[in-house]
Symmetry: C2
């Protein structure tokens, strides 16, 4: 297939240029909306060329050259890594997972605001983040009429194109043209007071269009690329993940038996990572059939479930596949195209839809406290890991919210069940179930003290259980409030001790 054949709009063909030429059009201080979600569908060339330009500029001295980078979610070394390396990002939102970016954030040289992923499009549209200057969007191809075949993630691309003054397109020849037809770009959103119901009642329903609209006059550059997404190898679930998955499967079975979940469950939302993948594997090896997923990201596990029939279809906003997963997807793309729908993240994560469909939200966490508050973002209360991502969208509005983690981290030196979390991303009001490899605590209908007993008993590691019980009992005996008993001077001491000694254990 010739390169030319992916840019079919004759009015745009003269805009093909090098990444360096395109990057030269981005002014310092610009608000730049880029494509990209969980390492899929991000621009591969222009960010790196811009980083080189920034490096040269800053070496020459003068006013530092920085831009604000808004994306769908996480990207890859070619984008976040390169721009962070040259200190080229002033403000980053709404999500990242890049090591260099993270280091910048935690050393205080990059501003970062992590937002619920469903909300970013509306806030950008409403002007809460300021004017959007430039959109840089990876696509699979440009059609005769200038509309765009979306790539392996949709993210906020619709909004970036609409809100930006100017658009730079990257046409990636490595992305399969056969993805055409998988996407569903909803154009029915509006700012209040003009919003209408989103008439989506099933995960497999289509409510939008196959292509991204793009006004021809906004396009200022087209760069052709030929590079794969950031595809991390798939890791087999470890023992803790498998045990967590077993507890969850048992819980699902029991809920079905009690009539509190339908036989084919409810649409699954599955966070990214080893534990969620283990849950998917466990579901795939069990008796469930014809399940659906209404989630953010298609991982390897979901491809297998689609093949086996455990999963009837999956709706998401992006892929996040291993190289093997990509090969499997490419091999059988016609099969998957019938069973996967990629939507804008404001729709994949929309509160209205998550609530209506009754999503079962399963997400990893960093730590939970004995009262059921969950920290998904901060290491020891101060250092950003990745961000809240979509976990709040689904946990807050779904039917069930399940948070998962091994009961310890760092070779057993950290207890992930603590007296008080060092940062709260999901409050006691929003957390329904907590699971570790030790067991599952069903918090529904429990008061804080009842929750504490359930979480310590079922979820804490045996090495930390006596310490947690001791804390809880002394807090109850302290004469302070008995609704949520705490010893304030000690509540965060486990984290403090870890910072000072490298372990939460007490000998």
């Amino acid at each position: 297939m010739s390169k030319q054949s992916r840019i079919l709009c004759s009015a745009l063909q003269h805009l093909v240029m090098s990444a360096e030429e395109a990057a030269a059009m981005i002014p310092a201080g610009a608000n730049v909306g880029m494509s990209g979600f969980t390492g899929a569908g991000y621009p591969k060339a222009v960010p790196g060329a811009l980083a080189e330009r920034i490096r040269a500029h800053n070496t020459a001295g003068g006013q530092p050259f920085r831009i604000n980078v808004l994306t769908g979610a996480s990207t890859a070394p070619e984008l976040d890594g390169k721009l962070a390396e040259v200190d080229g990002i002033e403000m980053r939102l709404p999500f990242q997972s890049d090591p260099i970016c993270r280091a910048r954030i935690n050393e205080g040289t990059m501003n970062y605001a992590d937002y619920h992923l469903s909300e970013v499009a509306q806030y950008a549209w409403a002007g809460f983040f300021g004017k959007m200057d430039i959109a840089i969007i990876e696509v699979v191809g440009i059609r005769e009429d200038g509309s765009l075949i979306p790539s392996s993630s949709v993210g906020n691309n619709k909004t970036w194109i609409e809100q930006a003054d100017k658009v730079i397109l990257e046409v990636n020849h490595t992305q399969s043209l056969r993805m055409e037809g998988m996407h569903d770009i909803y154009y029915g959103t509006a700012l209040p007071p003009n919003r209408k119901p989103i008439q989506l009642t099933e995960p497999d329903q289509r409510v939008g269009e196959l292509y991204l609209r793009c006004p021809i006059e906004k396009v200022i550059a087209i760069v052709e690329t030929n590079a794969p997404d950031r595809n991390s190898p798939f890791k087999e679930p470890d023992d803790a993940s498998r045990r967590i998955a077993e507890h969850i499967l048992k819980f699902f079975d029991s809920e079905v038996a009690k009539g509190r979940l339908p036989e084919n469950l409810l649409p699954l939302q599955s966070g990214v990572g080893n534990i969620p993948n283990a849950v998917l594997e466990a579901l795939d090896s069990g008796d469930y059939k014809n399940l659906t997923a209404y989630t953010e990201v298609i991982q390897d596990g979901m491809l297998k479930m689609l093949k086996s029939g455990t999963l009837r279809m999956a709706s998401a906003t992006a892929f996040s596949l291993s190289p093997d997963g990509i090969a499997e997807f490419d091999k059988d793309i016609e099969f998957y195209r019938e069973r996967i729908i990629l939507r804008p993240q404001e729709i994949s994560n929309h509160p209205e839809i998550a609530r209506r469909l009754g999503v079962i939200a399963t997400n990893a966490m960093i730590e939970a406290d004995i009262y059921g508050n969950v920290n998904s973002t901060h290491i020891m209360g101060t250092r950003m890991m990745n961000g809240i991502g979509g976990s709040g969208d689904f946990a807050r509005n779904g039917y069930l919210s399940i948070f998962m983690s091994p009961s310890t981290a760092k070779d057993g030196k950290i207890s992930t069940i603590v007296p008080m979390v060092s940062h709260v991303d999901h409050t006691e009001h929003d957390v329904k179930v907590i699971v570790t490899e030790q067991g599952l605590a069903d918090l529904r209908g429990l008061s804080p003290r009842q929750r504490a007993k359930a979480i310590i008993e079922n979820c804490a590691h045996p090495d930390f259980k006596p310490m947690l019980l001791d804390y809880f009992e002394r807090a109850c005996a302290s004469g302070r409030g008995m609704h949520t008993p705490h010893l304030l001077q000690e509540a965060l001491s486990w984290h403090e001790q870890f910072e000072q000694t490298g372990t939460m254990r007490r000998e």
Copy 2:
């Protein structure tokens, strides 16, 4: 008007009995769903009679007699107070504001779980709280067909009647029959996977029925009462509340000028209390016209705004009026009936609707921290005040979330801006604006450290500002994570010092 005329269903008339006889039908351990929301429309007689029965039972010794009490939201001394006094409540949810109840909760003799008010109906229906045994519902009258004219609150009444095995009705002759026609009981809800879009796109749209359906065979008792709602006198806003209101009005004006809010704003949600009332008064004395409210509760301020034309209409689930407000409402009920709609709380607070309408959520808070986390429920991290109520429903899904408090409490001994909140109900991801009488901090698009500067600068009391700045600067210099700088050993020390010395001040 004769008493008989309010019970028009002949098949039910023989069930009229005393409160004591009705209370005798409630078994120990029962899950009881009661009407009542912000002191409106709660049963006036049966709970008290049940409390007397419990007192007699417990005086006689043996197994303690307790029930689980589920309501819409807060009730009154005749319900929460009396049942708490005799230690008759095992589990209370989803909200209370009663002094005796609160004391029980905080001394550890009553379990309490505070839930987002929009979620209670669905969780009860799904069986998350166990089987509902009995519903006790105040109504204005019973129609020929057995359907019920709702009272001054709707709350969870639809769900309680549907889910309970048996229903006890209280027909309150003090509630005006002329309220008939104000209600809109939506019967389109379902459990997933059978949910449909709620086709409500304007606050004044009706999507339901005027009456509560009630299967005649479920009714086991009817008790006639003649008692007013808990109507607290209206307090004139104090100086701090007025200044908070001024800051908010200025913010609205500026948002309209920038095109980020329409000229007639967006539907207002207003929490209950002095500060929200002051904001309503300020709005009423300004230039805004034809506003709408999509909120939980109709307070005195809203009646005035409806009269003046500032407010075109108001949708809520309950009244919370002063005696003067009640008199005004009664006097002109035909006027108000055209302009007020009372809905079930799952609809008044529904995430789908709050997001679609783009509600502006203004709620009081107990404290906020320098990074924008808000505590709405816990005094010094352990003692329950009231509960989260609907604040999370609106703040999480609305267009703007505004949290308000004077910058100090307890005669200046408490700073309501603290290094770290002692409990989190609204996370940094959900809080857009914080206001005290000192000023307003607009947190949209800011990173945590940027937020800290804005909050300390704009919202903190001058007496505490240097201490907050000192904390923030030392946290930044500590060498820990610079995303959300904290000194963990000191983060809660302000609260701890207050507990020990009665002040957060340092001399």
